[in-house]
């Protein structure tokens, strides 16, 4: 009982912190943490729980981001109206990508996801309709509340936190359900699972669909907050890698691992940039890279295991 109570207190404190701190920059960092946590937690569904390490998730993120601003460009509606379109597109993409690539194992699968993501990025960056290299812009000046263009980062923080809560709740339910059980089996050994009668392809696809949908949502939210999208910033390989890094750092295959990873990595990025970036010596990345390296070296399973929060980790 008291464990649950402390958990609630911690959550309440963390949610109230940005409000109390009153510092716009920190609030923005907090909002970015939530956004990164959404993508990483979404990735976690297929990469962590199902053990299929996709390094091409940027396509889903980009689908969401582009759809939002494309809908705005074509219809003048608030960009968030494009989010359902983004989700639909990414679900379609997930089917198209998943079906051929899921027969690949391990590193081959990862490489295939990279290749597909890069392919799509190049096509998009040359496609006039979606802005080609110039990219797409959101409303320059906010026209209504629906544009979700806030001066203060606080509304973004709470919005993203809400979306994350929904995602984590769904993940938790999934984890306890038959699907979670099957995914665990797939992760532990695909051939064995197959021989035991687990409908491997169906559940991998389900995990991917869920993952893709939420990643697309994250992409739309990103587009709404930043107000600009181009092939490099929404479909670049760094977007995919970032999701993987965050989930892995916190602990892939755990419920709160990606959130923890985001809560550490995003402020770390901001701090190193704030402290060293202006010097232009590259120290930012030296420190950042070294810290990631050290964490991976000493805690390959992610940092969440340091906290031993949930004894029942996915094996």
């Amino acid at each position: 009982m008291s464990r649950r109570f402390t958990a609630l207190v911690v959550v309440a404190v963390l949610l109230a912190a940005p409000l109390l701190l009153g510092n716009a920059f920190l609030q923005r960092v907090a909002a970015l943490v939530m956004l990164a946590a959404i993508s990483a937690s979404a990735w976690n569904l297929i990469g962590g729980y199902a053990g299929q390490v996709s390094i091409g998730h940027a396509v889903f993120f980009g689908a969401g981001a582009y759809s939002a601003l494309l809908v705005y460009k074509l219809t003048d509606w608030p960009p968030i109206a494009g989010a359902p379109v983004g989700v639909a597109v990414s679900l379609l993409l997930a089917c198209v990508i998943g079906l051929p690539t899921f027969r690949l194992r391990g590193h081959y699968f990862s490489m295939a996801t990279i290749a597909v993501a890069e392919l799509i990025r190049i096509v998009v960056s040359n496609w006039q309709f979606v802005g080609a290299a110039v990219g797409l812009m959101g409303p320059a000046v906010p026209r209504s509340l629906a544009d979700l263009s806030f001066l203060s980062p606080l509304p973004y923080f709470y919005l993203f936190a809400a979306v994350l809560a929904v995602l984590l709740f769904l993940t938790w339910q999934m984890q306890r359900s038959r699907m979670g059980f099957y995914l665990g089996a797939i992760r532990a050994g695909e051939r064995a699972a197959l021989s035991l009668g687990v409908p491997v392809l169906r559940y991998k696809l389900l995990a991917l669909l869920l993952s893709a949908g939420f990643t697309a949502l994250a992409g739309s939210l990103y587009a709404v907050m930043v107000g600009f999208v181009d092939a490099e910033s929404a479909l670049g390989i760094l977007i995919s890698v970032q999701m993987v890094i965050i989930a892995a750092l916190g602990g892939a295959g755990t419920l709160f691992g990606p959130l923890l990873g985001a809560a550490i990595l995003i402020p770390l990025q901001e701090t190193t940039n704030a402290l060293f970036g202006g010097g232009g010596t590259g120290l930012t990345y030296i420190v950042y890279g070294a810290i990631i390296l050290l964490i991976a070296r000493f805690r390959p399973g992610g940092l969440l295991e340091l906290l031993h929060w949930r004894r029942r980790r996915v094996a």
């Binding site: 590193h107 990862s110 392919l119 750092l249 892939a252």
Partner: protein, 285 residues
């Protein structure tokens, strides 16, 4: 005639890709370790070659072996400091740690050398000349020939020598290898060292005709990954074949369709091949 030039150019380019990937085949294929820092290893080798030329006044015949030696030692260092601890862990830990390593290497180079582009004079290994109507660059021919030799050498090493069979044994079944008296740690360290030395040779050669900058590894690394995967993990001849194929396909599609789509064609064909042959061209089934 122009088409022939395109194809020959593509072959030479492909040989460079194969060269660039040679160390990676060994490491990834044999040790099953994803090395996100591979491109930056080659970048470091290029700088070693550059320093060898500008500071020590060495010619290519010297600075290329120098780069190989330095990278060999560096590979051992990286193995013992990092890889040993993550190679048996989950793939994610490898991705995470080598990604951190990549940033560390890239920006250490950035700090020391700054962001500027530098080049070696393009006449170090002879200039360019024409045979028939074809224009060729001596440095690229040398790089291509070396790629071939390196592939053959590595393949022979792995399949015909006692050392090679020990390396393969460890790759196949670490515990069993240990039981027959092979020291897996030592073998893997050696594999890393040899892989790194290959990047040393690659970097030294590529520096002869390409530009050098801290971020040069980024552009080439992805092609290396595709090459190794397409060839089939663990197959050294596969990587050569894949590299050549990619080079030719890239050059032909660039010339016939448009340079913008060359990568699209390569990636599409890559995914197609994997669909039909999930283990790559020459990989183990």
């Amino acid at each position: 005639m122009i088409l022939l030039q395109v194809v020959v150019g593509g072959l030479l380019l492909g040989a460079v890709y194969a060269l660039f990937s040679s160390g990676l085949t060994l490491i990834w294929g044999m040790m099953n370790v994803v090395n996100f820092a591979h491109g930056d290893f080659v970048m470091l080798a290029m700088y070693v070659a550059f320093l060898g030329y500008t500071v020590l006044g060495l010619g290519p015949a010297w600075f290329i072996p120098l780069a190989a030696a330095v990278m060999f030692l560096f590979g051992l260092l990286v193995y013992f400091a990092l890889i040993r601890h993550v190679s048996r862990g989950p793939m994610l830990a490898q991705i995470l740690s080598t990604f951190g390593l990549a940033l560390l290497l890239r920006y250490s180079a950035f700090w020391v050398f700054s962001a500027n582009f530098v080049t070696l004079p393009d006449t170090l290994v002879g200039g360019n000349f024409a045979i028939g109507g074809l224009r060729l660059q001596a440095s690229r021919l040398v790089a291509g020939a070396t790629a071939l030799l390196l592939t053959i050498g590595l393949d022979l090493l792995l399949t015909r020598t006692a050392l090679g069979s020990r390396l393969l044994a460890v790759a196949e079944d670490r515990a069993a290898a240990q039981l027959v008296g092979i020291r897996p740690d030592r073998m893997q360290a050696l594999a890393w060292g040899i892989g790194a030395a290959s990047t040393g040779i690659a970097g030294g050669l590529i520096a002869l005709f390409f530009y050098i900058s801290p971020t040069v590894g980024e552009s080439l690394a992805l092609i290396a990954f595709v090459t190794v995967c397409l060839g089939g993990f663990g197959s050294v001849p596969g990587a050569l074949l894949a590299g050549l194929a990619i080079g030719v396909i890239e050059s032909l599609s660039a010339y016939l369709i448009g340079p913008v789509y060359q990568d699209v064609v390569v990636y599409a064909l890559f995914v197609l091949v994997l669909w039909v042959r999930p283990q790559g061209l020459l990989g183990r089934a």
